[in-house]
Protein backbone atom coordinates (compact mmCIF):
# COMPACT_ATOMS: atom_id res chain seq x y z
CA UNK A 1 0.00 0.00 0.00
CA UNK A 2 2.84 2.36 0.95
CA UNK A 3 4.62 1.67 -2.31
CA UNK A 4 1.47 2.39 -4.27
CA UNK A 5 0.90 5.63 -2.39
CA UNK A 6 4.52 6.68 -2.90
CA UNK A 7 4.25 5.95 -6.60
CA UNK A 8 1.05 7.94 -6.89
CA UNK A 9 2.57 10.76 -4.89
CA UNK A 10 5.64 10.89 -7.10
CA UNK A 11 3.44 10.85 -10.19
CA UNK A 12 1.30 13.64 -8.85
CA UNK A 13 4.34 15.70 -7.87
CA UNK A 14 5.83 15.25 -11.31
CA UNK A 15 2.65 16.36 -12.99
CA UNK A 16 2.39 19.26 -10.60
CA UNK A 17 5.92 20.41 -11.26
CA UNK A 18 5.82 19.92 -15.00
CA UNK A 19 5.47 22.93 -17.23
CA UNK A 20 1.77 23.33 -17.29
CA UNK A 21 1.81 26.15 -19.78
CA UNK A 22 4.21 27.46 -22.30
CA UNK A 23 4.10 29.96 -25.07
CA UNK A 24 5.60 30.04 -28.48
CA UNK A 25 5.15 32.81 -30.93
CA UNK A 26 6.01 33.75 -34.47
CA UNK A 27 5.84 36.91 -36.49
CA UNK A 28 5.66 36.77 -40.25
CA UNK A 29 4.55 40.28 -41.01
CA UNK A 30 0.96 39.68 -39.97
CA UNK A 31 -0.36 39.04 -36.52
CA UNK A 32 1.62 36.91 -34.15
CA UNK A 33 0.23 33.82 -32.48
CA UNK A 34 1.01 32.49 -29.07
CA UNK A 35 -0.20 28.99 -28.28
CA UNK A 36 -1.16 28.11 -24.76
CA UNK A 37 -0.90 24.43 -23.96
CA UNK A 38 -2.10 23.15 -20.67
CA UNK A 39 -1.65 19.77 -19.14
CA UNK A 40 -5.29 18.92 -19.18
CA UNK A 41 -8.08 19.81 -21.49
CA UNK A 42 -8.32 23.63 -21.73
CA UNK A 43 -6.31 25.19 -24.55
CA UNK A 44 -6.45 28.25 -26.78
CA UNK A 45 -4.39 30.34 -29.15
CA UNK A 46 -3.51 33.90 -28.25
CA UNK A 47 -3.20 36.12 -31.32
CA UNK A 48 -1.27 39.33 -30.72
CA UNK A 49 -0.73 42.26 -33.07
CA UNK A 50 2.27 42.32 -35.40
CA UNK A 51 5.32 44.45 -34.66
CA UNK A 52 4.58 48.04 -35.51
CA UNK A 53 6.41 51.23 -36.46
CA UNK A 54 5.10 54.57 -35.31
CA UNK A 55 5.24 57.40 -37.81
CA UNK A 56 7.57 60.27 -37.11
CA UNK A 57 5.88 62.94 -34.96
CA UNK A 58 2.61 60.93 -34.68
CA UNK A 59 1.06 61.84 -31.36
CA UNK A 60 -1.50 59.00 -31.11
CA UNK A 61 -1.15 55.52 -32.58
CA UNK A 62 -3.43 52.54 -32.03
CA UNK A 63 -1.16 49.58 -31.46
CA UNK A 64 -3.78 46.85 -31.14
CA UNK A 65 -6.31 47.59 -33.90
CA UNK A 66 -8.60 44.84 -32.52
CA UNK A 67 -5.89 42.42 -33.61
CA UNK A 68 -5.55 40.72 -30.25
CA UNK A 69 -7.83 37.74 -29.85
CA UNK A 70 -8.23 34.37 -28.19
CA UNK A 71 -8.73 31.81 -30.89
CA UNK A 72 -9.68 28.19 -30.90
CA UNK A 73 -10.62 27.81 -27.22
CA UNK A 74 -11.14 24.18 -26.30
CA UNK A 75 -12.61 22.57 -23.22
CA UNK A 76 -12.89 25.79 -21.26
CA UNK A 77 -14.87 25.09 -18.07
CA UNK A 78 -18.19 26.85 -17.53
CA UNK A 79 -18.16 30.35 -16.01
CA UNK A 80 -14.50 30.84 -16.81
CA UNK A 81 -12.78 33.62 -18.67
CA UNK A 82 -9.63 33.71 -20.72
CA UNK A 83 -8.16 37.18 -20.30
CA UNK A 84 -5.59 38.61 -22.67
CA UNK A 85 -3.83 41.62 -21.16
CA UNK A 86 -1.05 43.93 -22.22
CA UNK A 87 1.56 45.73 -20.19
CA UNK A 88 3.95 48.44 -21.32
CA UNK A 89 7.15 50.01 -20.02
CA UNK A 90 6.30 53.68 -20.57
CA UNK A 91 9.50 54.41 -22.47
CA UNK A 92 10.95 53.88 -25.90
CA UNK A 93 14.65 53.00 -25.65
CA UNK A 94 17.34 53.78 -28.20
CA UNK A 95 18.66 50.54 -29.70
CA UNK A 96 22.29 51.65 -29.56
CA UNK A 97 22.17 53.38 -26.16
CA UNK A 98 19.66 52.24 -23.56
CA UNK A 99 20.15 55.37 -21.51
CA UNK A 100 18.41 57.42 -24.21
CA UNK A 101 14.61 57.19 -23.92
CA UNK A 102 11.42 58.79 -25.18
CA UNK A 103 8.49 58.64 -22.73
CA UNK A 104 4.96 57.72 -23.78
CA UNK A 105 1.61 57.01 -22.18
CA UNK A 106 -0.86 54.28 -23.06
CA UNK A 107 -4.46 55.31 -23.31
CA UNK A 108 -7.14 52.62 -22.95
CA UNK A 109 -10.82 52.86 -22.01
CA UNK A 110 -10.37 56.68 -22.05
CA UNK A 111 -7.81 56.55 -19.28
CA UNK A 112 -4.06 56.42 -19.00
CA UNK A 113 -2.67 53.02 -18.12
CA UNK A 114 0.36 53.15 -15.86
CA UNK A 115 3.52 51.35 -16.93
CA UNK A 116 3.60 47.79 -15.66
CA UNK A 117 -0.13 47.66 -15.01
CA UNK A 118 -1.93 44.99 -17.04
CA UNK A 119 -4.96 46.08 -19.02
CA UNK A 120 -7.34 43.58 -20.63
CA UNK A 121 -7.43 43.84 -24.42
CA UNK A 122 -9.36 40.69 -25.29
CA UNK A 123 -11.51 38.13 -23.51
CA UNK A 124 -13.21 34.86 -24.10
CA UNK A 125 -16.25 34.15 -21.94
CA UNK A 126 -17.03 30.51 -21.69
CA UNK A 127 -20.68 31.05 -20.76
CA UNK A 128 -21.53 32.93 -23.96
CA UNK A 129 -18.63 31.51 -26.01
CA UNK A 130 -17.92 34.96 -27.33
CA UNK A 131 -14.52 36.43 -28.00
CA UNK A 132 -14.39 40.13 -27.16
CA UNK A 133 -11.79 42.50 -28.58
CA UNK A 134 -11.80 45.82 -26.83
CA UNK A 135 -11.38 49.43 -27.81
CA UNK A 136 -8.38 51.28 -29.12
CA UNK A 137 -5.15 51.19 -27.18
CA UNK A 138 -3.29 54.30 -28.13
CA UNK A 139 0.36 55.00 -27.57
CA UNK A 140 0.50 58.73 -26.95
CA UNK A 141 3.77 60.58 -27.54
CA UNK A 142 3.49 64.28 -26.89
CA UNK A 143 5.06 66.77 -29.25
CA UNK A 144 7.41 67.81 -26.48
CA UNK A 145 8.53 64.19 -26.05
CA UNK A 146 9.26 63.91 -29.76
CA UNK A 147 11.23 67.14 -29.61
CA UNK A 148 13.08 66.10 -26.47
CA UNK A 149 14.75 63.21 -28.30
CA UNK A 150 18.33 64.43 -28.14
CA UNK A 151 19.77 61.45 -29.99
CA UNK A 152 18.70 60.27 -33.43
CA UNK A 153 18.21 56.58 -34.12
CA UNK A 154 15.72 53.75 -33.80
CA UNK A 155 13.83 53.48 -30.53
CA UNK A 156 11.82 50.42 -29.48
CA UNK A 157 9.53 49.38 -26.68
CA UNK A 158 8.16 45.92 -25.87
CA UNK A 159 4.43 45.52 -25.37
CA UNK A 160 3.87 42.26 -23.53
CA UNK A 161 0.67 40.30 -23.98
CA UNK A 162 -0.37 37.73 -21.40
CA UNK A 163 -3.36 35.41 -21.42
CA UNK A 164 -4.68 33.43 -18.52
CA UNK A 165 -7.63 31.30 -17.60
CA UNK A 166 -9.55 32.48 -14.56
CA UNK A 167 -12.41 30.65 -12.91
CA UNK A 168 -14.88 33.52 -12.96
CA UNK A 169 -16.17 36.10 -15.38
CA UNK A 170 -14.33 39.43 -15.42
CA UNK A 171 -15.59 42.53 -17.17
CA UNK A 172 -12.81 45.03 -17.83
CA UNK A 173 -15.35 47.82 -18.35
CA UNK A 174 -16.28 47.44 -14.68
CA UNK A 175 -12.71 47.98 -13.66
CA UNK A 176 -11.93 44.29 -13.72
CA UNK A 177 -14.62 43.31 -11.24
CA UNK A 178 -16.33 39.95 -11.25
CA UNK A 179 -19.18 39.98 -13.77
CA UNK A 180 -20.90 36.88 -12.50
Amino acid sequence: MKKLLSFLLALALLSGLSVIAFADGESTGGNQTVNAHITGDPSWVLVIPADQTIEFMAEETDIVHHDCSIDNPKHIPADCTINASLTHTGNFTLKTDESKTIPFTLNAFDADVAAGTPVIVSQYWSDTRVNHCYAEFNIVISRDSWKSAEQGGTYTTPVTYTSELVDHIVDPADGGTDRS
Binding site: S6, V34, I141, A149, Y155
Partner: protein
Protein backbone atom coordinates in the same frame (compact mmCIF):
# COMPACT_ATOMS: atom_id res chain seq x y z
CA UNK B 1 2.17 8.33 7.95
CA UNK B 2 -0.48 7.23 5.50
CA UNK B 3 -2.53 10.33 6.29
CA UNK B 4 0.39 12.64 5.61
CA UNK B 5 1.08 10.88 2.35
CA UNK B 6 -2.56 11.12 1.32
CA UNK B 7 -2.62 14.83 2.16
CA UNK B 8 0.51 15.46 0.11
CA UNK B 9 -0.95 13.47 -2.75
CA UNK B 10 -4.14 15.51 -2.68
CA UNK B 11 -2.21 18.81 -2.57
CA UNK B 12 -0.10 17.80 -5.52
CA UNK B 13 -3.09 16.72 -7.53
CA UNK B 14 -4.85 20.01 -6.79
CA UNK B 15 -1.79 21.99 -7.83
CA UNK B 16 -1.58 20.05 -11.07
CA UNK B 17 -5.21 20.58 -11.92
CA UNK B 18 -5.43 24.30 -11.07
CA UNK B 19 -6.41 26.36 -14.12
CA UNK B 20 -3.59 28.87 -13.86
CA UNK B 21 -2.34 28.51 -17.39
CA UNK B 22 -0.99 31.53 -19.20
CA UNK B 23 0.67 32.46 -22.46
CA UNK B 24 2.93 35.42 -23.22
CA UNK B 25 3.86 37.23 -26.39
CA UNK B 26 5.75 40.43 -27.12
CA UNK B 27 4.90 43.03 -29.75
CA UNK B 28 7.80 45.33 -30.60
CA UNK B 29 6.74 48.91 -31.26
CA UNK B 30 9.41 51.12 -32.75
CA UNK B 31 9.93 54.64 -34.00
CA UNK B 32 12.74 56.47 -35.75
CA UNK B 33 14.29 59.85 -35.06
CA UNK B 34 16.46 61.38 -37.81
CA UNK B 35 20.17 61.19 -37.03
CA UNK B 36 22.32 64.30 -37.21
CA UNK B 37 25.66 63.85 -38.94
CA UNK B 38 28.10 66.65 -38.14
CA UNK B 39 31.06 67.14 -40.46
CA UNK B 40 34.09 68.99 -39.09
CA UNK B 41 36.65 69.67 -41.81
CA UNK B 42 40.09 71.16 -41.16
CA UNK B 43 41.96 73.40 -43.56
CA UNK B 44 43.79 72.17 -46.69
CA UNK B 45 41.02 69.97 -48.04
CA UNK B 46 37.34 69.42 -48.55
CA UNK B 47 34.67 66.81 -47.88
CA UNK B 48 31.72 66.04 -50.13
CA UNK B 49 28.61 64.19 -48.94
CA UNK B 50 24.84 64.34 -49.21
CA UNK B 51 25.00 66.89 -52.05
CA UNK B 52 27.02 69.27 -49.92
CA UNK B 53 30.68 70.24 -50.06
CA UNK B 54 32.43 71.38 -46.93
CA UNK B 55 35.59 73.32 -47.72
CA UNK B 56 37.93 73.35 -44.75
CA UNK B 57 38.03 74.83 -42.28
CA UNK B 58 34.29 74.48 -41.72
CA UNK B 59 31.70 72.64 -39.65
CA UNK B 60 28.28 71.63 -40.92
CA UNK B 61 25.65 68.97 -40.48
CA UNK B 62 22.88 67.10 -42.23
CA UNK B 63 20.20 64.62 -41.19
CA UNK B 64 19.46 61.08 -42.36
CA UNK B 65 17.14 58.33 -41.20
CA UNK B 66 18.76 55.65 -39.07
CA UNK B 67 20.06 52.76 -41.15
CA UNK B 68 21.07 55.01 -44.05
CA UNK B 69 24.48 54.40 -45.64
CA UNK B 70 26.37 57.64 -46.08
CA UNK B 71 29.53 58.09 -48.15
CA UNK B 72 32.06 60.88 -47.80
CA UNK B 73 34.47 61.88 -50.55
CA UNK B 74 37.51 63.39 -48.86
CA UNK B 75 39.91 65.36 -51.03
CA UNK B 76 43.04 66.94 -49.55
CA UNK B 77 44.55 69.93 -51.30
CA UNK B 78 47.58 69.22 -53.50
CA UNK B 79 50.54 68.31 -51.36
CA UNK B 80 48.41 67.36 -48.36
CA UNK B 81 47.08 64.07 -47.00
CA UNK B 82 44.37 63.02 -44.54
CA UNK B 83 46.04 63.04 -41.13
CA UNK B 84 43.01 62.54 -38.91
CA UNK B 85 39.73 60.82 -39.72
CA UNK B 86 37.50 60.04 -36.75
CA UNK B 87 33.83 59.14 -36.46
CA UNK B 88 32.49 60.13 -33.04
CA UNK B 89 35.98 59.78 -31.62
CA UNK B 90 36.86 56.46 -33.26
CA UNK B 91 39.80 56.39 -35.68
CA UNK B 92 38.35 55.23 -39.00
CA UNK B 93 41.29 55.96 -41.31
CA UNK B 94 41.46 52.25 -42.15
CA UNK B 95 38.07 52.59 -43.81
CA UNK B 96 39.31 55.26 -46.21
CA UNK B 97 39.67 53.89 -49.76
CA UNK B 98 40.65 56.12 -52.67
CA UNK B 99 39.39 59.11 -50.75
CA UNK B 100 36.03 57.50 -50.00
CA UNK B 101 34.74 56.67 -46.56
CA UNK B 102 31.31 55.09 -46.06
CA UNK B 103 29.34 54.06 -42.99
CA UNK B 104 25.80 53.17 -41.92
CA UNK B 105 24.37 55.81 -39.64
CA UNK B 106 22.47 54.40 -36.65
CA UNK B 107 22.66 57.41 -34.31
CA UNK B 108 24.09 60.93 -34.24
CA UNK B 109 27.67 60.95 -35.48
CA UNK B 110 30.46 63.49 -35.86
CA UNK B 111 33.04 63.07 -38.62
CA UNK B 112 36.28 64.94 -38.02
CA UNK B 113 38.74 65.30 -40.90
CA UNK B 114 42.14 66.95 -40.59
CA UNK B 115 44.70 67.38 -43.35
CA UNK B 116 48.45 67.79 -43.12
CA UNK B 117 51.70 67.51 -45.01
CA UNK B 118 52.74 63.96 -45.72
CA UNK B 119 55.32 62.45 -43.39
CA UNK B 120 59.01 63.10 -44.29
CA UNK B 121 60.58 60.41 -46.47
CA UNK B 122 62.12 57.52 -44.62
CA UNK B 123 65.87 57.02 -45.27
CA UNK B 124 65.66 53.36 -46.32
CA UNK B 125 62.17 52.51 -47.42
CA UNK B 126 61.65 48.77 -47.77
CA UNK B 127 60.76 47.54 -50.26
CA UNK B 128 62.28 50.32 -52.29
CA UNK B 129 59.55 51.86 -54.35
CA UNK B 130 59.69 52.51 -58.02
CA UNK B 131 59.12 56.23 -58.30
CA UNK B 132 56.03 57.00 -60.26
CA UNK B 133 54.14 60.18 -60.64
CA UNK B 134 50.76 58.64 -59.81
CA UNK B 135 49.93 55.37 -58.13
CA UNK B 136 48.63 52.59 -60.32
CA UNK B 137 45.29 51.84 -58.72
CA UNK B 138 41.82 50.94 -59.80
CA UNK B 139 39.92 54.08 -60.63
CA UNK B 140 37.59 55.50 -58.05
CA UNK B 141 33.87 55.26 -58.81
CA UNK B 142 33.72 58.99 -58.38
CA UNK B 143 34.43 61.26 -61.29
CA UNK B 144 37.23 63.03 -59.45
CA UNK B 145 40.04 60.57 -58.76
CA UNK B 146 41.77 61.11 -55.46
CA UNK B 147 45.24 59.56 -55.40
CA UNK B 148 46.61 58.10 -52.21
CA UNK B 149 50.19 59.18 -52.63
CA UNK B 150 52.87 57.48 -50.54
CA UNK B 151 55.13 60.01 -48.84
CA UNK B 152 58.22 59.00 -50.83
CA UNK B 153 56.61 59.65 -54.18
CA UNK B 154 56.96 62.89 -56.05
CA UNK B 155 53.70 64.56 -56.81
CA UNK B 156 52.87 67.55 -58.96
CA UNK B 157 53.48 70.49 -59.04
CA UNK B 158 57.17 69.58 -58.68
CA UNK B 159 57.35 69.09 -62.42
CA UNK B 160 58.73 66.34 -64.58
CA UNK B 161 61.76 64.25 -63.61
CA UNK B 162 65.11 65.82 -64.57
CA UNK B 163 67.54 63.55 -62.76
CA UNK B 164 68.16 66.14 -60.04
CA UNK B 165 65.81 64.67 -57.50
CA UNK B 166 68.44 63.03 -55.31
CA UNK B 167 70.44 66.18 -54.46
CA UNK B 168 69.90 66.14 -50.71
CA UNK B 169 72.58 63.53 -50.12
CA UNK B 170 75.07 65.31 -52.38
CA UNK B 171 74.50 68.62 -50.65
CA UNK B 172 74.79 67.06 -47.24
CA UNK B 173 78.11 65.41 -48.14
CA UNK B 174 79.50 68.66 -49.57
CA UNK B 175 78.38 70.51 -46.44
CA UNK B 176 80.14 68.02 -44.20
CA UNK B 177 83.36 68.17 -46.21
CA UNK B 178 83.26 71.98 -46.15
CA UNK B 179 82.71 72.02 -42.42
CA UNK B 180 85.63 69.67 -41.84
CA UNK B 181 87.91 71.76 -44.06
CA UNK B 182 86.92 74.96 -42.24
CA UNK B 183 87.61 73.31 -38.90
CA UNK B 184 91.11 72.24 -39.94
CA UNK B 185 91.91 75.69 -41.37
CA UNK B 186 90.70 77.51 -38.29
CA UNK B 187 92.89 75.34 -36.06
CA UNK B 188 95.94 76.08 -38.19
CA UNK B 189 95.25 79.82 -38.07
CA UNK B 190 94.71 79.91 -34.29
CA UNK B 191 97.68 77.71 -33.34
CA UNK B 192 100.56 80.28 -33.98
CA UNK B 193 98.75 82.91 -31.86
CA UNK B 194 98.55 80.57 -28.88
CA UNK B 195 102.28 79.65 -29.28
CA UNK B 196 103.27 83.38 -29.22
CA UNK B 197 101.19 83.97 -26.13
CA UNK B 198 102.92 81.12 -24.36
CA UNK B 199 106.35 82.53 -25.33
CA UNK B 200 105.45 85.97 -23.89
CA UNK B 201 104.49 84.38 -20.58
Amino acid sequence: MKRILCALLLCSLLCALMPDAFADGVQQVSLSIPCTVTVDVGEYGKVYSNSTTWIGPSIGSFQVWPGTRVSFLITPDTGYVVNVLTLSGRDVRDGLRYGLYGTVIEHNETLVVRFGKPASPSPTPTPSPIPTLWPTSTPSPWTTPVPTTPPWQVTPPYGPKTGDENTVGTWATLLLVSAAALLVLSRKIHKPHTDQAQKRN
